[in-house]
C-alpha cells in the first residue's frame, strides 16, 4: 500500500500544481476517497481541527486553483456562497435549502434528453441539474 502523503503530492504534481505545505494539507482533507461538497468556511474549519494554520485568502487561492486544474468542480446554487465538489464524474445535485447543503444525484438516476439546438458557434461547457428541496 502506497504512502498517502506521497499520493497527494503526486496528485498535485500530476496537475501541475506545486505541492506546497498548505496545498498538500488541503488536498489531504478533501481527497480522502469520499465525495464532499465544501465551502471555504468548511475547509477552514476542517483545517483548524487538524491543527493546520492557514488564512482565508490561501484557502480561496487553493480551492480556485484546484478547480482550475480540474481537481474540484465549482458548484453554484446560491448567490454569495461557493461550493466545491470533489466528485468530478458527471452527476447532478439535490440542494437542501433549509440546511444549505448539497447531495449528489448519480447521473443514471436522472435523465436529461432532447437538448435544444445551441446558438451558433457555441459548445456546451456543462449541463447542471439542481433539484431544490
Amino acid at each position: 500500500m502506497k504512502n498517502e502523503t506521497h499520493d497527494i503530492t503526486h496528485l498535485l504534481v500530476k496537475h501541475d500544481i506545486r505541492p506546497t505545505k498548505i496545498r498538500r494539507a488541503i488536498a489531504g482533507l478533501l481527497f480522502d476517497g469520499h465525495d464532499k461538497h465544501v465551502s471555504v468556511d468548511d475547509v477552514i474549519d476542517l483545517a483548524r481541527r487538524q491543527k493546520i494554520r492557514t488564512s482565508v485568502a490561501s484557502v480561496y487561492n487553493t480551492l480556485n486553483q484546484f478547480a482550475s486544474a480540474g481537481l474540484l468542480r465549482r458548484v453554484t446554487v446560491e448567490q454569495g456562497r461557493a461550493f466545491f465538489d470533489t466528485n468530478l464524474s458527471a452527476h447532478h445535485h439535490f440542494y437542501f435549502e433549509d440546511e444549505e447543503r448539497l447531495e449528489d444525484i448519480p447521473t443514471e438516476d436522472i435523465n436529461v434528453s432532447g437538448l435544444p439546438e445551441l446558438p451558433q458557434g457555441r459548445t456546451i461547457k456543462s449541463v447542471d441539474v439542481t433539484i431544490r428541496i
Copy 2:
C-alpha cells in the same frame, strides 16, 4: 384597450403588494410582455434611462418582494450576482458565461425524466437545468 398603468397597479394589488410609485415604476419596466432576465444593476440602469430616481436598496427590496410574491423568479447561476426572471412558466436556461447573460430554453425543448427518489419527507421546490455555454 385597458390603461397600462392601471393594469400594473392591479397586478401589484392582486399580489398583496402596495402599489407605491417606485414599485409601479419597476413593475412597469419589467412586465411589458417580454421575458427578461435582469440583475439589480440592470433595473437601476433601466430606471435611470426613464428618469426614475431610486436607490440600490429600494431596488433590492422591490425585486426581493416581487420574487416572494411570485411575480419574479430568482435565478442563481453565478455566485455574487442575482438574476430575476420575469418568465414564470416552467423552463430552463442557457447561461452564456462570457457575456454573463441568460436565455430561456422552453420546457418542451429539453426532457428531464426519471427523477430520483426524494429523501424522506421532502418535496421538490424546483428543478433547475442550466446549460453553460
